[in-house]
Symmetry: C2
Subunit: 461 residues, 2 copies
């Protein structure tokens, strides 16, 4: 099946038909060949009253894998239709970290019912995982990994994997621990498969092991997995004991979520985890209105500056027409810098100690950009506004006021845009909130002050 095949449209119709005609055995054979992610897509398109029937047609393991992929609302609805036996069946098949992800989104009553239906040991693990802070490595790790003893032979180790591997989230990296559960090495399935069977684990294991702590930020952990090209990373507690692993599939989800969050914050939206089409109108409204209100209030400062300058503007009305262009160009210059810096910080390409290199780079770039913009602006105003459109209010001095202001504004905007995200990082705030809209508000005020100051000086108003 090709990745770009439009699964939903192709298959959903057939499935709805088969459901309606109650041709369940035919349906079963179709869906048992499908991927969990695709089945979840089909379910999102099914009429609500058919979802529970459809879900019961899935073979046990596929049902559990699909359950992880469907959205929270549908999970909750399905749980309400489950008998206790069905609930156990689904949740027994799940990896513990997936169960925890689901529980975190469920109302208390549902959580209780699920916990009641898991065995004591799993319940204990779940409760521990639920304690970790939302953005920590602990919250995304799984406790189902393969642990090996360093004195085993390769063929013993393969036997361990053969016996217990089915239930582990990954068997591709196995962890060698000592009696205190301290990680002393890692062995990949690749090392095991390409070493001779009688070798001892201790002799082939990689001893330079990179670990994360349960309290580490989950984004750093995901970035480390990407940086080192690992498929899993061990997570240890405060006493350095192995307590879980973070696998690459969860790391990708974290990186994508964080990128989305950054993008949303940069556009002055409160991040949400739901995909766009799942968000209700009121949810969208709530994620957007606080920032709009805040930015509207701060924008009134520009209004106050303009009002304070009103009498001078009345005598030189021509200056009004250039306010929006100046503010716009300043805002754009500032957001270019801030967004670049925010992304570099988030990709860990920049450290706080780089701040002076950053400022120096931005100053030089700003001088280049500012000069070109000022010259282009001067020429455009003279050629178009003065000569072509014949606006006689425009003198060389007026044109100079606009262009000098332009140069200073670009310089200020780029430096402010670069510094603020780094300062935010320094005081442990999220640099992303310092993006375009915030910078623009500040630059708007600054550019007006510059403009009116330059005008006062040169035009003597």
């Amino acid at each position: 099946m090709h990745i770009e095949t439009e699964i939903e449209e192709l298959i959903t119709d057939t499935i709805v038909d088969l459901l309606t005609e109650r041709k369940f055995s035919e349906l079963k054979s179709i869906i048992s060949e499908m991927n969990p992610a695709d089945i979840a897509l089909v379910m999102s398109e099914l009429p609500e009253e058919r979802i529970a029937i459809f879900f019961r047609l899935l073979p046990k393991d596929l049902a559990a894998e699909t359950f992880v992929e469907i959205d929270t609302d549908m999970q909750e609805d399905l749980i309400h239709t489950f008998s206790d036996a069905e609930l156990r069946e689904v949740f027994n098949e799940l990896y513990v970290d997936d169960t925890v992800d689901i529980l975190e989104e469920m109302p208390a009553g549902v959580v209780k019912r699920i916990l009641k239906n898991t065995d004591k040991e799993t319940r204990h693990v779940i409760n521990e995982l639920l304690q970790y802070p939302e953005d920590s490595a602990g919250s995304i790790m799984t406790t189902e990994y393969v642990r090996l003893n360093s004195s085993l032979t390769v063929s013993d180790a393969l036997a361990v994997i053969r016996r217990s591997g089915v239930e582990k989230e990954t068997i591709y990296t196995c962890y060698v621990t000592d009696n205190n559960r301290i990680v002393t090495g890692i062995v990949t399935a690749r090392m095991l498969l390409t070493s001779s069977p009688d070798k001892i684990i201790e002799d082939i294991m990689e001893t330079n092991v990179i670990v994360a702590k349960t309290t580490d930020d989950k984004e750093s952990v995901a970035t480390a997995l990407q940086k080192y090209d690992f498929v899993a990373l061990p997570v240890v507690d405060d006493e350095n004991r192995l307590v879980g692993i973070v696998t690459i599939d969860d790391a990708i989800d974290v990186l994508q979520e964080e990128a989305t969050e950054d993008i949303e914050k940069m556009a002055a939206i409160t991040p949400t985890e739901k995909p766009y089409l799942k968000m209700g109108t009121f949810g969208l409204f709530l994620s957007r209105i606080p920032w709009l209100l805040l930015l509207m209030i701060t924008a009134t400062f520009t209004g106050m500056i303009i009002t304070g300058f009103e009498s001078s503007l009345a005598s030189q009305a021509v200056l009004i027409a250039f306010i929006t262009m100046l503010m716009g160009t300043g805002g754009n210059s500032g957001s270019q810098s801030s967004v670049t810096i925010i992304r570099a910080l988030s990709l860990e390409e920049l450290k706080l100690s780089d701040i002076f290199r950053v400022i120096w780079k931005e100053v030089r770039t700003a001088i280049l950009c500012g000069s070109v913009l000022a010259l282009a602006c001067f020429a455009k105003i003279w050629l178009v506004d003065r000569m072509l459109l014949g606006n006689s209010e425009i003198t060389v001095l007026v044109d100079a006021v606009v262009c000098i202001s332009m140069f200073i504004t670009v310089l200020v905007a780029k430096v402010v845009g670069a510094i603020l995200p780094m300062l935010a990082q320094a005081v442990k705030l999220d640099p992303a909130v310092m993006a375009s809209p915030f910078i623009t508000s500040i630059v708007d005020v600054l550019s007006l002050i510059v403009y009116f100051r330059v005008a006062t000086l040169l035009l003597g108003i």
Copy 2:
């Protein structure tokens, strides 16, 4: 070693000291325990004249792995110091897809020299891979995968992996093909390790195989790997023959690069692949100035509208003070919508056919946001500007003009902000260029027209 240890500062100093004192054997034993990604970090901090000496201290396989991690300029410098024998040594250890990535960034002379020093078969593969368009699946795939025959037993298959696995990029997913190289199934290392040795591959393989075409967009392929939680995805040619695989580590890099590109485009920056600190001032300038110039020119339209309205504004100068707030709020409202839609399109959460659902959702959200903003604005202007600051030019009618314009502007901005990225997608443009700055320019013009129209109607000016 903990992921957050500041490798560079901790180790670089020691390494520089050892290099200066020419204590090479001690140095060798330290670096041979390190990770390629960390060694590359250390190298980026070394004085230029020491890099070549340092690199020669690395054991052969580590040298090759490190070579992939360092940046293009350093790769090129190193290649110039290599003898042909050294060049062969490094490139023979590399996976073909990494070689191709490096070649794509090198000047023609260097490419020639590298190709001259690879064996005929590899050269042939490299040349083929170099043909694929830059953003295609073909350009990121590797040709080193494990191919199996469906009639093998599990233990035969494990023997094949043991024999040839060392040279393959992944052994965790193996591909079963027929005589025409058509993929008939996949077998994971996990399936092999947890099945009994005498089973036949045909009986345990997964036959529902999802494939990508060499010409598919690399971002779609990466998204598919994320969606299905695969560690590798097979790539086929036009005749459906298996020609390569895309592995998860390359997929993550693609997803991160694409997110960075989207973010840069949203901030009106021409995307570049270099990290911030590696970009020269002139490079930064070039990536930023075209958009600044373009947006400055379009901003002059707002100036022209204001000029056209100058005489009316002279009679009602109080209206000037609200221009920036109106334009700002409009711009912010529009970018919220456009950025949300752009990200949803890029995550494949939205399809073009959803456009009417999107518009309807945005209209309702805009009515909520617009109402709240208009009311807040009305109250603020009346309470602060009129009563607190005693600006007697502000009448109820003036206040109403501002707030009605605010409501209409928000509505228009959100709808335009949502529609434009989808239209861009429809005509195969990148939706990301329709982000904040572009939307803001359009909304600026629209909000002024709305403002002056409403003012003319209500105030009769």
